[in-house]
Structures are given as structure tokens and as C-alpha cells.
Symmetry: C2
Subunit: 202 residues, 2 copies
């Protein structure tokens, strides 16, 4: 297997932390977005959408989409379990993982793409949408702070893919200056704990 990676990307980081939690090492090819590595004909043959990460399997077939990659890796390497031990737990973790995608990560990405100078000339930026995304992320932080009042992790009573997704969303948010407001002490406690894991630097 070979992983096409992007150091700063939210979704590539999800897969890297997932691999580190599993104790897996996969050869990686680092992409340079400003150099246009994801727009070369070779890369577009792997993923016509030009997105990262991409997992190339030994038979040459290709998987994209971080969650599809993580679920596939979990099927090959079930322990430690990060996506659920039975159908209902898998569904509950997937529910929470998707909430973390659509109600946290998507807003962090919206703020990054529409407000950050990196994207000038790369994406059509709509500043008002970036600000709306930032505001929604802050609203969702308040909700998550309530959710975490009486539990240690996002789902299933242990560290799972849903924690990884929120962690990566809040790392991106922090990188663009959207920090957890001081009054949200439960969320801040959770964030300090997950980012203190040895795998957080993967």
C-alpha cells in the first residue's frame, strides 16, 4: 500500500492519526499543493477530483475519501477498535463521526477556504460565507461543550474515529485563529486530552 498524503490537510491528518492509533506504518508520498502536485495528470488518474488523501493498494486499485480508507483499514486491522465492535456501535460511532464532519469539520474548512489568504487565486472566496462558517463552528462548540459535560469521549465511551475527526477540525480551526472559547471548559479539557495523545503529532 501507499498513502498520498498532505501534511496540513484535515482529512489526511485523520488518516495519519488513525494509522498511528493502529500502530500501522504505510509508505507515504507527501504532496505539495502550491507546486500543484494534486493537479498533475498522474495524480488525476488516481483521483480525478484532485483531493487527498489517496490510498493506493498493492493491486494498483485506489481508495479515496478518508472515512472509506479508515473503515477499510479497520477491516484489515481490527485492533485497537476505532469504528465499533458490532453493528449498533458502528452505527453510533458513524453517527457521531458524521456529526463531527458536517457540524464541525465542514465549518472549519468553510472558514479556512473562504477567509484565509492561502486560497486567494485558488478558490472563489466568499468572505460572508467564511464568517458564517466561523460563527456556526463557534455555536457547535457550545453544543459539544454541553455534550462533553458528562463523558470523556465523543462516542462509545472510548477514543474513536469520531474523536479523531473533531480533533482534526479543531486543529484546523486553531490554525486559522478560531479557538475554543474559555467558558467551554469541557470541550477544552477534551481537546487537551486528545491532543496530548502520542498519536496527535502523526
Amino acid at each position: 500500500m501507499k498513502l498520498y498524503d498532505l501534511k496540513a490537510g484535515l482529512n489526511p491528518r485523520r488518516v495519519r492519526i488513525f494509522l498511528a492509533e493502529k500502530g500501522l506504518e504505510i509508505p507515504r508520498v507527501e504532496s505539495d499543493l502550491p507546486r500543484g502536485d494534486n493537479k498533475t495528470p498522474e495524480f488525476l488518474r488516481l483521483n480525478p477530483l484532485g483531493k487527498l488523501p489517496v490510498l493506493e493498494l498493492d493491486d494498483g486499485s485506489v481508495l479515496t475519501e478518508s472515512v472509506a480508507i479508515c473503515h477499510y483499514l479497520e477491516s484489515l486491522h481490527p485492533e485497537p477498535n476505532l469504528c465499533g465492535r458490532d453493528a449498533l456501535e458502528r452505527a453510533q460511532i458513524e453517527m457521531w463521526d458524521r456529526r463531527m464532519e458536517f457540524d464541525a469539520a465542514a465549518h472549519a474548512i468553510g472558514a479556512f477556504v473562504h477567509l484565509h489568504p492561502f486560497w486567494i487565486g485558488r478558490e472563489t472566496q466568499v468572505a460572508a460565507f467564511g464568517e458564517l462558517s466561523r460563527d456556526k463552528l463557534l455555536q457547535r462548540m457550545a453544543w459539544l461543550n454541553d455534550e462533553l459535560a458528562e463523558r470523556e469521549f465523543i462516542a462509545a465511551g472510548r477514543y474513536t474515529l469520531a474523536d479523531i475527526t473533531l480533533q482534526c477540525a479543531l486543529v484546523m480551526a486553531k490554525g486559522i485563529g478560531i479557538r475554543i472559547p474559555e467558558q467551554h471548559s469541557n470541550l477544552a479539557r477534551w481537546f487537551a486530552a486528545v491532543t496530548a495523545r502520542p498519536t496527535a503529532r502523526a
Copy 2:
């Protein structure tokens, strides 16, 4: 089980078509968004995010998020298979399903929420973002037209959850006046085929 449903919603429709393809009937509670059914204290206890669909299980526990619900239903009712028969096929269908979510459905929803009068007073609308979403959806239609040049379905050589997701995205798009451009005959042929299935009216 009980399904909290929303007739016009993109994600509730995904679950309804999925159920119909499986030949399953689950009692449904129809929600009325203008009446605020999804903002009542009772509903927010089921889903604090106020979103539909919601599947209430017989033990009172709750699943939200259409894809988590579909994967769970597939584990209980494996046939006809809509999400993959082994780990690799599951990953490939999930990859395609997520592409249909992030590169089609998300743009249709962006255009709907930010351009359609229904959302005035319900969501902060950013018209420029709605227009960007519409343009991106049209770009992705061109890509999908190429993808469908030599195959009948989106993934795995048969009708799967990935087809359902694109189908629901394009039904929403059509409802707000974004139609498949005439020159995209492969995509149009696919859309005519999937919407002619008896389950399309579910």
C-alpha cells in the same frame, strides 16, 4: 423502530429509497418544518441538532445521520446488497457515496439553502455562495457525465447507496431549477434510469 421523516428532505429521501429497495416498511412520523416540528423540546431530545431523518430503535435509543442509518439497516437486512459484499467493495461504494455527498449533494444543498426563498428568515443566506454551489454542481455534472460514459451505475456495477445519494442530489437540484445540461447525455441516461425505478417515488 420508528423513522422521523421529512418528505422533501434530501437525506430523508435517501433513507426512504434505501428502505424501499430493501422491501422494508418502518412506521414513519412525518415532520413539518415550517410548523417547527424539528425544534420542539421532544424532537431536540431525539436529535439536539434538529435534523432529519432520525431512526428510533425499539429500546428507545436513537440513530441520526442517513448513512449511519442505512449502514445499520444493511447489517440487519443484507439483501439486496446496497453497500458492499466484502471490505474492499464496501470501501469502494463508501468512497463513491462520499463523493456523491461532498461533490454533488453538498452543492445542491448549498444552492438550495443560500438561493431559495424557503430559507429566508430560517438561515443566513449568502447568495454568492449559493451561486458558487450551483456552478460547482454543474462542473461536477460534467465530471460525472464522463465517469458514466462506460458504466451503468456509479459504483460496483450495480445500483447502490452511491446511486441513491446522487439521485437525491439531482432531484433536489431539479426542484430548484438546476437541470442536467443537454450535452451530458450519459448522466441524463443514468438519471432517467434510476428515477424510473419503482423505489424512486418512496
